[in-house]
Amino acid sequence: MATAVGPRALLAAIAAGAVAVLALWWHSTLSLAGLGGWLTGAGEILGLLAGYAVVVLVLLMARIRPIERAVGADRLARWHAMGGRYVIGLISGHALAITWGYAVTAHTNPVSETATLLTTYPDVLMATVAWFLLLGVAAVSARAARRRMSYETWYYLHFYTYLAIALAFSHQFAVGAAFTGSLVARFWWSALYLVVAALVLWYRVAVPVRDFARHQFRVAGVRQESPHTVSIYVKGRYLKELAAEPGQFFRWRFLTRGLWWQSHPYSLSAVPSDELMRITVQGIGDHSAALARLRPGTRVLAEGPFGAFTPVRTGRSVLLLAGGVGITPLRAMFAALSGTVTLIYRASTWQDIVFQSELDAIAEARGATVHYVVGSRRDFGADPLSATALRRLAPGLHRMDVYLCGPPGMTGNAVTALTEAGVPRRRIHYESFEF
């Protein structure tokens, strides 16, 4: 369960690391004088922070289970995206400040200093190539560019960041003032990089392979729930060891032609048993069509469980608010929660409603209430999920824990309405699907 503690603790740890890095600069610098000194000093600080920040960025996406559990995959991805932009700025600032600072100290102009740096300083050329690689990755990751390319293309291009980090590493030690004179600094810096590399290899390579071997995931069957929605049943062994909680998701890679090179996150749409899991995927297009054609027996590489979007046991009544495909994790929660539960399921048309019979059955079995809010805004004439409407659908709303899942626009509006209806921010739990 994601509380406020996890994210804050992680941020504090990252900040502490940054302070340690600044202390490293402080310790290795005697005194500065003049414009050249200031520029070079600024360049050194920016460089050290950048060298640290890239490691943090890698760590955020390393799929480290305890961190994902405490902070949430979506939040980690958002931080990574924001941090990525900042790091590009750090690196660019570093390159420019160092070049200018060196030029001033050497009484030459920045153009000839650039040439000197590139041709005579060890490993600087590689680091510059790394810089341009990262600029390229940044350009490709910009929203405008991502709209034009497939997710997979962007994803694999993004791996060039590892190459960039490798290329730039050596220049830190070869010309970095904080490192050239201190074996201790080089040791700890190398240790930092090695530890993160080990974590990446463990969590992104070793663990999935180990789980694949242990649990033997295979497609058990496929069911079309509605014209655009298909459920995939995945069987395996010892699934209880995974300890997947309702609301969590896995990253699925179906090992069949056309799908093996893609990995997608899908939430469990039912509480898993020791031998069977179910995911439900909605979509139009080649990918969904390919999923619908999955043959039983197809091997699956499943990474997980991930996600901080799980029920918190507080004894309060619960409101589940689902929009469109957001029903998927909430369907799993609906079956698992105890106590008084209300489910509001918003969709544009009845065609989009899935699991209706299951939801009704669960509701009847445990005395829960399901409200299907189906139709377009125009049909309703007003926002059917306004604060007033929500208070009417879920009496006592302001005392409830609310779990919310849906498309970004819907979740944004819902959070506003819930707050307006008196639900404290800390009792509104949601997971953003856009990552």
Binding site: L22, S28, L30, A33, G41, I45, M82, L90, G181
Partner: protein, 133 residues
């Protein structure tokens, strides 16, 4: 966009704070008085140059002169704050001193020697002269 401006401002402010703390600990010294070094033989004079504040620390050089010829160069102050500085100092200063006594103090205008190639030129004394040494 607002976050970006905030991030940039905070970074610049942090940089300025850190850098100004470090600048505070350096002092501008301007000394040019010839100090008679007590233990010099008669006829020799020591001339001490200003402290030059380089990016790596202060450097100060003293030249001992006898009848218009430089006979000795003393390095009074050199950067010693990091291992890197000491390493460089170890080979740079003797080289500097040696060069001062060979080509520089002889005040020559050109160097005649066995023919150097374009590559050899760079390391030659002639190259030092051409580059305004």
């Amino acid at each position: 966009m607002r976050r970006a401006i905030l991030a940039v401002t905070a970074t610049v402010a942090g940089l300025v704070a850190l850098l100004s703390f470090k600048t505070h600990s350096s002092s501008e010294r301007t000394v040019a008085s010839p100090e008679p070094a007590a233990s010099l033989p008669p006829g020799e004079r020591a001339i001490t140059g200003n402290v030059a504040n380089t990016a790596y620390g202060p450097v100060q050089v003293q030249v001992v002169v006898a009848t218009s010829k430089i006979v000795k160069v003393n390095v009074l102050e050199q950067p010693e704050s990091t291992e890197h500085d000491l390493q460089i100092g170890q080979f740079a200063f003797p080289k500097l001193i040696g060069e001062t006594l060979s080509a520089q103090s002889a005040r020559i205008d050109s160097v005649s020697g066995a023919t150097y190639t374009s590559g050899g030129y760079i390391k030659s004394l002639q190259s030092a002269l051409d580059n305004g040494a």
